[in-house]
């Protein structure tokens, strides 16, 4: 009798989790796709501005337009790694699994957008400076940021004990974010080839009004695109964890092993 009741409870729990999974999936889809739709619409506007509307910069010419993808890329990368650091710190404190999932989702986005910065920068530098790369402070620190968060993923999967891997990764996530203020201030503190800030200044943006409008549209568009994908990735991680737990409850040891390898 006791055994039958126990089995019934497991089944009821699995059904409740399944219903909850469907709700999570719906909410994640709705928020992710809604933000994504607005982000894509704003992206179309921003591309029209970049290629048809904004005036061409007098000294650098057409290549200056890379700035409209480079700067928002950097902003989104910093936002993403800020989320990683915040969620990682609270995860270490409270131990809530969902915070680790949020940090993981943000770290993926941060890597994508830092790669955009590291690719678009040299494409501009080759024509503006005559070289693809130079070991000046801002470039070097940005490359270091990329490697730190590459380490975040490596550390995460480096141990058989999943909880320990997550905790190590959380520490890397926090340490990595300390690099962000250094990157921002490096052009002011050190002798640097990189242009001085033109938007994030205490005396306001030092740009032609049309250029400033294009930059802010791009910032909005990329932030929304990032948030949309971040929500979808976070929801996917939550559902993966739930599916894994359900499989373990149902006595499927293979899926538990697979989960340990893939997460």
């Amino acid at each position: 009798m006791e055994k039958r009741r126990g089995r019934f409870q497991v089944k009821a729990e699995a059904t409740r989790r399944e219903a909850s999974s469907h709700m999570t999936l719906r909410a994640v889809r709705w928020w992710g796709l809604s933000l994504g739709a607005v982000g894509v619409a704003l992206t179309i506007v921003f591309h029209w501005q970049v290629f048809f509307w904004v005036p061409t910069e007098a000294s650098m010419g057409i290549v200056q337009r890379i700035f409209y993808i480079h700067l928002p890329g950097a902003w989104v990368a910093f936002l993403a790694f800020g989320i990683v650091a915040l969620c990682s710190a609270v995860y270490l404190w409270l131990g809530e699994e969902k915070l680790d999932h949020a940090a993981l989702a943000a770290a993926e986005g941060g890597m994508v957008f830092t790669t955009i910065v590291l690719v678009s920068g040299p494409l501009w530098a080759r024509l503006a400076w005559g070289t693809w790369w130079t070991w000046e402070p801002r470039l070097t620190l940005t490359l270091l940021l990329w490697f730190i968060y590459l380490g975040y993923f490596l550390v995460r999967n480096s141990t058989q004990n999943r909880d320990r891997g997550r905790k190590f990764a959380a520490v890397v996530g926090i340490v990595g974010a300390l690099n962000i203020p250094l990157i921002h201030m490096s052009v002011l503190w050190f002798r640097s080839l990189h242009p001085q800030p033109v938007v994030a200044r205490t005396d306001g943006p030092q740009l032609h009004p049309d250029m400033a409008t294009t930059v802010f549209t791009a910032l909005g568009a990329w932030t929304l695109v990032f948030l949309s994908l971040f929500i979808l990735r976070y929801g996917t991680a939550r559902l993966e964890a739930r599916a894994e737990r359900t499989s373990v409850d149902m006595g499927d040891p293979l899926s538990a092993e697979q989960g340990a390898v893939t997460s």
């Binding site: 057409i62 337009r65 993808i69 080759r126 994908l229 979808l232 499989s247």
Partner: protein
């Protein structure tokens, strides 16, 4: 696919050619302008390739977990 890329390239080139201020730079330096154009195009194309790559990986994961939860 190639046709779509060529159409985008033509549209972007036309847009950049007509953008305010560009005509002042076109003083017999066409190869330099072409090089600038290619760098801009490459930067935007690579950026979107990366974002779409991330979106595709999320979609693949979501589909997999959906199939697992609701076979």
């Amino acid at each position: 696919m190639i046709r779509v890329v060529l159409m985008i390239l033509a549209l972007v080139a036309l847009g950049l050619g007509l953008a305010p201020g560009t005509e002042a730079l076109q003083t017999g330096d066409a190869p330099r302008q072409m090089r600038h154009f290619w760098h801009v195009f490459a930067a935007y194309a690579l950026a979107w390739l990366l974002v779409f790559g991330w979106a595709a990986s999320i979609a693949r994961r979501l589909k997999r977990v959906e199939d697992r939860l609701d076979p």
